[in-house]
Symmetry: C2
């Protein structure tokens, strides 16, 4: 294997992710490909969106951390979101430049699934507790496999995504006294309240726990 084609993940990305697994590097490679396709560099401020087709309750979501790290589309900057399709794909959308989707080929998913690493994971053994040589083997596989064997890349000409216009306006909840950004103020008996004080929280907790 030509060493030039082996993807190198910076140490800090591993440190951010917290453990060594094959999915973070898959997301990192997806981000690299999407950035190349749209001709953009790592985005320090804002102006782009990463959308993962992952959801919850299944493996491989770790790829989102790699995608965030390489593109700069972080969750904290509101530039990363899950679409909850349960598919191993990421989209990079740069307004004015378009959107590109990178899917982990089904054949590669099949190949990956045969790795010994998953014998441990299916038993519920955490990545940091899997024998290092077993981890190394699966990580090397995803760092060394050719792009063509791993990824299907496509443009999404109609794709769009946006956020509501930002506002600095905030007010205090009339019950707890804490600040609330206006968008999230709720009215109870004619008084402004935060969502927890308004007791309108349960639906959100349910969304997070069960619906996705």
């Amino acid at each position: 294997m030509d060493p030039k084609t082996v993807t190198k993940i910076p140490d800090w990305v591993w440190e951010f992710h917290g453990h060594t697994c094959p999915f973070m590097p898959i997301g990192y490679r997806m981000g690299q490909i999407a950035m190349r396709e749209l001709d953009v560099k790592h985005i320090g401020d804002h102006g782009a969106f990463g959308l993962s087709e992952m959801g919850v309750g299944h493996p491989q979501t770790c790829m989102i951390d790699g995608f965030m790290a390489v593109t700069g589309c972080t969750y904290g900057k509101l530039m990363m979101e899950r679409l909850n399709y349960g598919k191993v794909a990421c989209i990079l959308f740069v307004p004015g430049k378009g959107a590109v989707r990178v899917y982990l080929k089904s054949e590669f998913q099949d190949e990956l699934g045969k790795q010994e690493f998953f014998v441990y994971r299916k038993k519920g053994i955490e990545p940091s507790q899997v024998p290092p040589d077993v981890v190394k083997k699966v990580v090397d596989l995803v760092l060394e496999a050719s792009e063509a064997s791993m990824f299907a890349v496509s443009r999404l000409p109609d794709f769009t995504f946006g956020r509501p216009k930002g506002s600095f306006a905030k007010m205090k909840c009339s019950t707890c006294g804490e600040y609330v950004f206006e968008r999230y103020v709720r009215m109870v008996d004619g008084r402004p309240e935060c969502i927890p004080c308004s007791d309108y929280t349960q639906s959100w907790v349910n969304v997070l726990k069960g619906v996705q």
Copy 2:
């Protein structure tokens, strides 16, 4: 100021976040406090949840990146989520150890809002384009202010949060042929499809764009 009390943010956390702003360090400090309160270290694998009370369409969300980095509760590992309350607070929940909430005191929010940094931000100038001395002043403020002046810390005895049980089961969409984790398979005319092929996507896009 006693230099021992000044919070030091590792370089890689700045690199992950992408620009220098005061919010990422606020989240970092919130995470440090919550971890100390629950007596946990940085979590490399899974087993804890970070919940931000932030939403979209307002400032200060960058704090989520600092909180993820210091706690190890990353979005990719499904350990971080927004509660969309529009409040400047983070919760760390460790099953078996409890939950702690850290709120950025209203008085400190008022103090922070007077900083020149926000004159630039309210004009839409990105953090990386704000004069460095202006950025340094506000970042130093949040790194050096005493914990007592900045944060209100409370236990949440009834707080709970969970994820659905994970499954490796997946099947192929009968239309596009791509793999879908079972939780997200939808039925159309008796055939299994992925959400995009099923045309059931629009509601999610709307949720992400408008409802939160």
